[in-house]
């Protein structure tokens, strides 16, 4: 972290549609910003000219047909893929050349479309891995079980359980993560991401496989997380009710390009969006 502090923050680029940042977040540096982001896979352009500027407490959604490049954008934002073009700024710092773990430490946490838990570890341990960079004991302190180790383990044991309480998962603390029911696995992934104390949380299809009632609960929880932790949330979703219900700004992606951007109401009535989803016939 100290390394990054020495460097100056990159100059902020002019936000394409600044009016989309919620009013309460104006005047602060956008927490996540992408500028002309693009990536080619062997000559094929998967994402092109993607721009985003997120306010510090904004909830945004990214929708689009299958294969539009939504997950690719998450992979670009988290440094899993190195962009062919463009820049990603987290809280004003450039992520170029940073590893996935470093980008996480800069403040970006994510979940995965196909759940990726530490399935042989317990639920509490999963969360504790997320706290790993907040914990500061030296290897020797831990290996020799010096007093610092016990203090820290006790503190983070409590913090992990408190975090689990958000989704009422304390009772699962000692359960192996791989044995959790599907919905609880998705929730644990979110909690694990939150444990890394992110500034922005990326959720990759959080409602996948959920029924309408569960989706509604999730919607409330997303808002609750934002209010509680005061962080920005960007989510990819197919479920329109979730996106339209919870997001303040929605971007529509088709063939790797943003074709529309706006409030849920604007998007719902945008003919380009309808065309992307239903074809030209749908517009008429």
């Amino acid at each position: 972290m100290s390394n990054e502090k020495k460097k100056h923050r990159s100059v902020l680029v002019q936000v394409e549609t600044p009016n989309l940042i919620p009013e309460r977040d104006l005047g602060t540096i956008p927490v996540l910003q992408a500028e002309h982001l693009g990536i080619d896979f062997g000559g094929l352009t998967a994402v092109d000219d993607f721009n985003i500027a997120m306010g510090r407490t904004e909830i945004s959604g990214l929708i689009g047909p299958n294969g539009a490049g939504k997950t690719t954008i998450f992979n670009l934002l988290t440094s899993v893929y190195k962009p062919t073009r463009g820049t990603v700024l987290v809280d004003g710092y450039d992520t170029a050349g940073k590893s996935v773990a470093e980008v996480n430490r800069m403040g970006v946490a994510r979940t995965f479309q196909n759940i990726r838990l530490f399935s042989k570890m317990t639920v509490e341990q999963n969360v504790l891995v997320g706290f790993g960079n907040t914990m500061k004991t030296h290897l020797v302190t831990d290996m020799l079980r010096l007093p610092g180790h016990w203090r820290q383990e006790a503190e983070f044991h409590d913090r992990a359980l408190e975090l689990l309480d958000i989704f009422d998962m304390r009772k699962y603390a000692d359960t192996q993560a791989g044995n959790l029911p599907y919905g609880a696995q998705r929730r644990l992934e979110i909690l694990r991401a939150l444990a890394t104390s992110p500034k922005v949380l990326l959720l990759d299809e959080p409602a996948a496989g959920m029924n309408p009632a569960e989706t509604e609960e999730l919607m409330e929880n997303i808002q609750k997380i934002r209010d509680e932790f005061q962080i920005a949330i960007l989510l990819i979703e197919h479920d329109m009710s979730l996106v339209m219900g919870v997001c303040e700004v929605v971007g529509v992606l088709d063939y790797g390009k943003i074709i529309a951007k706006g409030t849920p109401e604007q998007i719902q009535n945008d003919p380009r969006v309808i065309e992307a989803y239903l074809g030209k016939q749908g517009v008429k």
Binding site: V100, A109, F118, Q125, L139, N211
Partner: protein
Amino acid sequence: MSEKRPIISTGGRGPAAGGARRTLPMPARYAINAIVVLVLLVLGELMISGGAINRYQSTVLEQVGIYIILAVSLNIATGYLGQLPLGHAGFMSMGAYGCSIFIIRMSEFLGVGARDFVTGTPMAFLIVIGGLIVGGLCAAIAGIIIGIPALRLKGDYLAIITLAFAEIIRVVMLNIDDVLGFELTGGAAGLTGIPGFSSFLLVFGCVAVVCFLIHTMMKSRHGRAILAIRDNEIAAEATGVNTTYYKTLAFVVSAFFAGVAGGLYAGCVGVLQPAVFGFMKSIEILVMVVLGGMGSMLGSAISATVLTILPEALRAFSEYRMIAYAVVLIIVMIFRPQGLLGSYDFSLSRIIERVMNRDFPWRKRNDAPADTAEEKEVSADV
């Protein structure tokens, strides 16, 4: 948090319903384990000095201890980190040579005779401890040198690069004296004149210390990071785990302890030849880990014990021993790929706590996982 409403209601039945579990305080746990270890060590030593265990048997016991250290140290990289290094014997030989050369030179320098190592004067003891640490460090340095390039690779590539590195170490040990004119390793003829410093107490003292240190590392944030990498490397990275650092750490710690075991081995057999530390030795250690259960220290220790004692007991059938090894390995992989004990690990404190809580396996348990089925039902109902 104003309201803690669960996404899915589970009816509020949790383990707390049965009242708080009685637990042992941490210091008590460590004290109990320490006492048990001490008692076992003293008991063993008494049996040896009393003649209940003869000289040959105690040598076999020392070998058992050495292989336990080798197996539990390889288990860090295999069971916990989930990689497959095939060059553990290379680290062992680095340790063996490093330790022996240090001890030979130091005892010359300080005028400590070979006799002193057997009787165990304080100076000799200090030299031995120093030698074991030097051996461990030599192996750890080798671990860093190979770990940094190797750990960028996955699976088979890592296996083959470590195998290659161990072979290089072997060739270097074999030829370094001729080429550079040193008198270090003794080449193919072997390094002789190593005082027989290994003893039951020293070896099993080291076993206890090594097991303790591995245990404490794994039950800390460092160990959790290593386990996370094994379970899902991509998720671990996204969760902020510096995968390069922790992979290297696991690898180096694994190498260090293999080096210590190598040092003890040198003190046990008294002569070192590069040929001993070939690919076959690496495989022998790997077999112990795999059979015992990858990720289980107890499993590694048990199979190291059995696989060291059994061939000694069955000397008449030594020709078939290697074939039996191979067949058992294949069969275990096909029918029980997680090893005999899986990732189960023994905890004395856990057993005591169970007794304290009268929570016996034959009683029906009322634990959190029982809720799993219920929740599934609920979510299906909605």
